[in-house]
């Protein structure tokens, strides 16, 4: 459980707000939003605030390989006012080819120095796939092959995070025919790493993972593909704002038709929501606002987070539903209806039946008796008036 006094959190907030030259309110709002995306319990924002205040600034080495730098761009262009300042404040970004001021040998020296100084403590973030064909000659940075760089940097890292689909599972570079033999970080290192797939992934998913590491000293819980559960445990289809249209059978048939304009379900246009795990419907895509995620603005999801779907399956191709295992609300082939007899109703029925049977038996007996009695009466009458003449008219 997260137990940090509000007082401490407030003091921490004051300190960080001063340092970042932002309002205390903005800072606490950011802490709460991060705790929210992580799915943490109330009070966690206080712990996050304190962790941020301590400003341990772990060294971060950020490697780029076969990629477009979209993940970095997404992070930098995040709409949230304090995001880029915070990410640069809470971590010491010692090596990032796009963002660092240094160049050439100076940059390489910075990386070596950071690795030596923070041995076993730095966080390695990899963006982009790693070519493996022909001994990995297809991507070199500073004369070193990508495959060697990632192995070298991962050896002494406290944590390895693969950001983006390329680093997570190969992404677009690994699409058929994959001429460079592009592979994911996990495949190259031969061990599972935390993956934040997406093209680009939502910056919050990455940031929340880093903040989780800073606050609790460990990475968040992940699924078998290394994806943090707080962000990737639900299918897009499950939380999609267009889901009611799917359930009612209202589909856009083609781009720009009546159904498309009315915001109907995009499944028939090839939406991969039913087979893609990501939290886009909940927090939007790329932090560009909730209404602006692909499905929100009328484009089917392409399944960018999902291996074998994004960049592999054509956009128009129909998705397979991953969530259909028949739940209880499907009628069975032969459905037994009614609840059967309860003990009380069975007893009551038995009592009524018994009473009826008994009554009938008594009645039948009496019927016989009365007949006999009638006969007896007649005999008596005969005996009493033997000379009675027959009645006639």
């Amino acid at each position: 459980m997260v137990k940090v006094s509000l007082n401490a959190a407030n003091q921490a907030a004051e300190a960080v707000a001063d340092r970042l030259e932002i309002s205390r309110r903005d800072f606490l709002a950011w802490c709460a939003a991060t705790a929210g995306s992580l799915g943490l319990s109330p009070g966690a924002e206080a712990a996050i605030a304190v962790a941020m205040q301590q400003a341990r600034r772990p060294s971060v080495i950020w490697l780029h390989f076969q990629e477009c730098t979209g993940c970095s761009e997404s992070l930098l262009r995040a709409e949230h006012p304090t995001l880029e300042r915070l990410i640069l404040d809470v971590i010491s970004l010692d090596y990032h080819e796009t963002l660092m001021a240094a160049a050439g040998h100076q940059a390489e020296a910075a990386r070596k120095a950071a690795m030596a100084a923070n041995k076993g403590k730095y966080v390695l973030i990899v963006e982009g796939a790693i070519p493996t064909r022909d001994k990995g000659v297809y991507c070199k940075v500073g004369g070193h092959k990508a495959i060697d760089l990632v192995r070298e940097c991962a050896a002494d890292a406290a944590a390895v995070i693969a950001i983006g689909s390329c680093a997570s599972w190969g992404g677009m570079p690994s699409t058929d025919p994959n001429p460079t033999g592009a592979a994911s970080v996990g495949e190259v290192l031969g061990k599972p790493v935390v993956t934040i797939p997406g093209c680009p992934p939502n910056p919050y998913n990455f940031l929340s993972t880093v903040v989780h590491f800073l606050t609790f000293g460990k990475l968040p819980e992940v699924d078998k593909l290394g994806r943090p559960l707080f962000a990737y445990s639900r299918l897009i289809h499950e939380n999609c704002e267009r889901r009611p249209h799917f359930d009612a059978g209202r589909f856009a048939m083609e781009f720009g038709d009546d159904g498309h304009r009315k915001g109907y379900c995009l499944y028939k246009l090839g939406c991969k929501g039913p087979e893609t795990y990501a939290n886009c419907p909940s927090i939007g895509f790329g932090d560009a606002g909730e209404g602006n995620w692909p499905v929100g603005c009328g484009h089917p999801c392409i399944g960018c987070t999902e291996k074998g779907i994004g960049f592999t399956k054509p956009i128009h191709a129909l998705a397979e539903l991953k969530s259909v295992t028949p739940p209880l609300q499907y009628a069975r082939i032969v459905e037994e209806q009614g609840a059967g007899a309860s003990f009380a109703s069975a007893a009551a029925t038995a009592a009524i039946a018994g009473a009826a049977a008994g009554g009938a038996a008594m009645l039948a007996r009496n019927l016989g008796l009365s007949h006999q009695a009638e006969l007896a009466e007649a005999e008596k009458a005969k005996a009493a008036k033997p000379a009675d003449p027959p009645q006639g008219g």
């Binding site: 048939m253 028949p326 032969v334």
Partner: protein, 347 residues
């Protein structure tokens, strides 16, 4: 005490005796055995492919809207339309076959599968045959088995006659009627076809001429499992339409054909021969008996029962024979009071 078995034996013997009398009689007016009817040439129907069905139940929702039916609740919270079977207010239902761990779709053991239950629009429908009035009819052109509540006398013979348990009575309504799928024939004049097929996102329910649907079904059965093929959605275009001739009965729609993987079909088109064929055809990966589709002979029960009935009642033969037999029995059993001593009387 006579057992039920003995009673039934007696009844059969009696029937046989009556029939024996009648066979002699029917020689005068020979009644030919009725053949099983075939589908009309332009019969309309559906093709339900269980391997394509994703169980979204959009067809159930659309059916309710198209036929103006209320939701039916079978859960405690009364939130969702949850019918357990076709009813007077549910003409179409997707049911789930469950076995063991239910791990894989379209597998009989430890798997699950979906099956659509709605009227199959038989070529020779038992409900039409059983209807004592003309409330249940089969359209001579489209072959749609329709229902006319104004002619219905509420006897519910159709409910008992249907081998698929489709026509259902609205028991909850004091002025109830029979509820069953009529292939959305009330929407045909506006260019709309069956709502279930119109909304189906995967083409698992496909509307079209039964002849075309049967050809499409056979095409699918001939494919290798796992192979990629083109699956049409919505309405299956006829051969003439595919060659560019527009069918003006239906409103124009974009082509919704998509690529999909071929399932591991049971090599049988359900409805091709059953009871002389049905206009709604089904494909499945799980044997049909296990997903609630009965094994039926190619000879329809309507033909059998009508042959018997029309033989028995042809020229009022059976009523006359029974009346005669009853008269003889009555005559033999009447005892005159002549042999008993006169106890007096009016005479």
């Amino acid at each position: 005490m006579a057992t039920r078995r003995e009673f039934l034996k007696g009844a059969v013997r009696g029937t046989l005796a009556t029939t024996a009398v009648l066979t002699g009689a029917s020689a005068i007016t020979p009644v030919e055995a009725r053949e099983t009817h075939a589908r009309p040439a332009e019969a309309l129907g559906l093709l339900y492919d269980a391997t394509l069905c994703i169980g979204c139940k959009a067809c159930m929702a659309a059916c309710k809207v198209a036929n103006d039916n209320p939701p039916e609740f079978n859960t405690s919270e009364h939130l969702w339309d949850t019918p357990l079977d076709t009813t007077g207010h549910t003409f179409n239902i997707i049911k789930a076959y469950r076995n063991g761990t239910m791990a894989t779709k379209d597998v009989a053991e430890n798997g699950f599968a979906f099956m659509k239950f709605s009227c199959l629009h038989c070529a020779d429908p038992s409900c039409v045959s059983a209807c004592p009035v003309s409330a249940m009819t089969k359209d001579p052109v489209t072959g749609v088995v329709g229902y006319n509540p104004d002619k219905c006398i509420g006897c519910r013979y159709c409910v008992a006659a249907c081998p698929f348990g489709i026509p259902k009575y609205q028991y909850d309504d004091p002025f109830g009627r029979i509820g069953k799928c009529e292939l959305c024939r009330h929407r045909h004049s506006k260019g709309h076809y069956s709502a279930c097929a119109e909304v189906c996102p995967t083409g698992a329910t496909l509307f079209g001429r039964t002849a075309d649907l049967l050809a499409e079904a056979k095409r699918r059965l001939a494919l290798k499992p796992g192979e990629v093929t083109q699956y049409p959605r919505g309405r299956l275009k006829s051969v003439a339409e595919q060659q560019g001739q527009a069918d003006k009965r239906w409103r124009a729609e974009p082509d919704q054909t998509y690529e999909g993987k071929v399932g591991t079909y049971v090599q049988r088109v359900y409805g091709e021969h059953e009871y002389g064929g049905t206009q709604v055809l089904k494909l499945s990966a799980v044997p049909f008996e296990r997903v609630g589709m009965p094994n039926l002979p190619p000879h329809s029960s309507a033909a059998t029962s009508e042959t018997i009935q029309h033989s028995l009642y042809g020229g009022l033969l059976m009523p006359l024979a029974v009346l005669g037999a009853l008269t003889v029995i009555a005559k033999r059993n009447v005892k005159t009071d002549d042999d008993s001593p006169q106890q007096g009387g009016e005479s």
